[in-house]
């Protein structure tokens, strides 16, 4: 149990009020082991994002417990959650991941600045991550000068540069064409396999699901199926 990076027990999340409750999650038990790449699948409105947010400390469950890296999130204060997001979790959202007034490399450095890492170390780490992800030549450009795919890749670089225990990506390919999506997935594959980063992606895009090592299908706020894939599709 303690070797799980994420451990959810009986997680329920109800939106709205008593009159018109929206049960986004209804008693989900769910764990993630280190090094896994889990795809949360399911139709729109099935609760993928809600679960991802709870796991990332962006939201609190109405009922049940969420444990991340041995910490029970229910007990954490607002600023402790903030700190957890900063130090333990890397986020890649559907869009608006980057600060428009900072260059790609500054965006990657930014999160290390928030962590209080000194200037020379963070510049070095930012450049090395960008280089590793094949983004070395666009480091000085601002997000407005990058394509959608490049922006998402910089967001991945920003998310992993702090060596988080968990990388969460919510519909990371929603704004990308299929070729660009494949590039992004290849990138996630690399960091999952080479760096051993634990990844959770919420998606209804079948291509994304095909790359994950485990597929968790949600329907109406419940886990319908949970299967490990022995040989996930190889990157193209």
């Amino acid at each position: 149990m303690s070797d799980l990076v994420v451990d959810c027990q009986g997680v329920t999340r109800v939106y709205g009020d008593d009159v018109v409750p929206v049960r986004a999650l209804q008693g989900v038990d769910f764990g993630i082991a280190a090094g896994e790449w889990t795809a949360l699948a399911g139709p729109s409105g099935s609760g993928k994002s809600t679960l991802l947010h709870l796991v990332g400390g962006l939201d609190r469950p109405t009922d049940g417990t969420v444990v991340v890296d041995g910490k029970k999130l229910n007990d954490l204060s607002e600023s402790q959650l903030s700190d957890l997001r900063l130090r333990k979790v890397g986020f890649v959202f559907q869009a608006f991941n980057l600060i428009p007034v900072l260059s790609a490399v500054e965006n990657v450095e930014f999160i290390m600045q928030l962590q209080g890492i000194g200037p020379s170390e963070r510049r070095e780490r930012a450049l090395s991550v960008l280089d590793h992800l094949g983004l070395g030549d666009i480091g000085e450009r601002r997000p407005g000068e990058l394509s959608g795919g490049q922006q998402q890749r910089v967001a991945v670089a920003r998310a992993i540069v702090t060596n988080p225990v968990l990388l969460l990506a919510d519909e990371p390919s929603a704004n990308l064409d299929s070729a660009t999506t494949l590039e992004l997935l290849a990138l996630l594959r690399t960091i999952n396999e080479e760096r051993g980063v634990t990844i959770v992606t919420a998606t209804h895009d079948p291509i994304v699901m095909d790359h994950a090592s485990r597929r968790v299908l949600l329907r109406d706020g419940r886990i319908e199926s949970d299967e490990s894939v022995s040989s996930p599709m190889l990157p193209v």
Partner: protein, 403 residues
């Protein structure tokens, strides 16, 4: 290091909307610059009024017998031994002098006029206008000079002049008239004709002899420029126990009122322009926060603390203010230097003579005023950022990004 990060981010954010930021900064510049120039002009006016009021035989403080101001005359006189008041030589006091001043009637061969007959110690009158007044003829040679000085305007009215004789009549301690003839040593030319018609000067002992007293009616004290009045007033009050120590404000209430009005004018102007400016600043900051809702939500989501979000808005406001204030101070200084030679007000000098303002207005820019304006502006810039910062910190990361 976290602070420099926020400063860098705020700085970049400011230039997202170059035009909007430049307009705002220009407004701040104009506001600060105009406040400083107006302040310098009004300070100049104040100083000129104060100097006139002090020069007119008042000094900053005047020691008189109780009741003298209501009923000036030799009956309200007092004996004065300088050696009994060493405080008069203490820090902050530029000089002092004693006088005997009585109401009198002056008579020439042709005319008669009411005047103030003032016995002075000529050598220590450098604290009043008499010290550097233009004189046709001769200045008094000493306290026992029995000749007199009359104003130019009075000499014209009396149809008399240097070397001629006039008669002065005043009341003695017993109420009876005292009368004596005096030769005119010189005719002085003061700033206003009011003074020239009012004062006739002679050596102090000559008035004391005329009235058969060994007393004075006033001791006038002048401070070194820039010295604060209250502490010196306090010391003087303690040493002249049985006497009244009056300030120039007591003696020239009209000038004192004008002085306060000038202060109020600067404050009101400051409040009006800064009020308008703060309104614009709050507006711009709120707009900037609303434009960046998704970005701020993202920043909170990846772990930026609430405090950092607040700090970002506050820093943005302070940077804007700091640039505006800096350029505004430079503009204000340039405006001041441009006017520093003085503004010729002689076209209005008839009206001004009553108020005691000299026909040339020399602006004065005091460091303490600049510091005050800069300080208050920064405080206002801070206050203006509170509401926008609250708006920013209320942003919930998930709500913001779902938009």
């Amino acid at each position: 290091m976290k602070f420099t990060l926020l400063v860098q981010l705020s700085w970049r954010n400011l230039w997202r909307h170059r035009r909007r930021t430049l307009i705002l900064i220009t407004t701040i510049c104009v506001a600060v610059g105009s406040v400083l120039v107006l302040n310098a002009l009004l300070r100049g006016m104040q100083m000129s009024m104060v100097e006139t009021a002090i020069d007119n035989l008042n000094g900053h403080f005047k020691v008189v017998a109780p009741g003298y101001l209501d009923d000036p005359g030799i009956k309200k006189s007092f004996r004065f031994e300088p050696s009994g008041h060493p405080e008069l030589a203490s820090y902050g006091i530029r000089g002092w002098t004693s006088r005997v001043r009585v109401p009198a009637v002056i008579r020439s061969e042709r005319e008669t006029r009411g005047v103030q007959f003032v016995g002075v110690v000529p050598g220590s009158e450098d604290i009043s206008f008499l010290g550097d007044v233009e004189i046709d003829g001769e200045y008094l040679s000493g306290p026992d000079d029995r000749r007199i000085l009359v104003g130019h305007a009075l000499a014209q009215q009396l149809e008399t002049g240097v070397g001629r004789r006039v008669v002065l009549i005043t009341q003695g301690v017993d109420g009876g008239n005292r009368e004596s003839g005096y030769r005119i040593a010189g005719v002085y030319d003061a700033v206003g004709t009011g003074i020239e018609k009012a004062f006739v000067f002679t050596g102090i002992t000559s008035v004391q002899e005329l009235l058969a007293v060994d007393a004075v009616t006033e001791v006038s004290v002048r401070l070194t420029e820039g010295v604060q009045e209250p502490p010196v007033l306090h010391r003087l009050t303690r040493t002249f126990t049985d006497l009244d120590v009056r300030t120039w404000q007591d003696l020239e209430p009209q000038a004192a009122m004008m002085h306060e009005m000038a202060d109020a004018t600067v404050s009101i102007w400051f409040l009006i322009v800064m009020g308008a400016l703060i309104f614009g600043l709050v507006n711009t900051l709120v707009t900037a926060v609303m434009e960046r809702i998704r970005e701020l939500g993202m920043l909170r989501a990846i772990g930026m603390r609430r405090g950092a979000v607040i700090a970002q808005v506050v820093i943005e406001s302070m940077i804007t203010m700091a640039i505006g204030i800096s350029v505004g101070v430079v503009l204000g200084l340039l405006g001041y230097l441009w006017l520093a030679d003085g503004i010729d007000l002689s076209a209005f000098s008839e009206g001004l003579e009553l108020t005691g303002i000299r026909p040339e207005l020399i602006p004065r820019l005091w460091a303490q005023d600049v510091v005050l304006v800069v300080g208050l502006s920064l405080v206002l810039g801070f206050l203006a950022s509170i509401y926008p910062a609250q708006r920013a910190v209320r942003i919930q990361p998930l709500d913001a990004m779902r938009r």
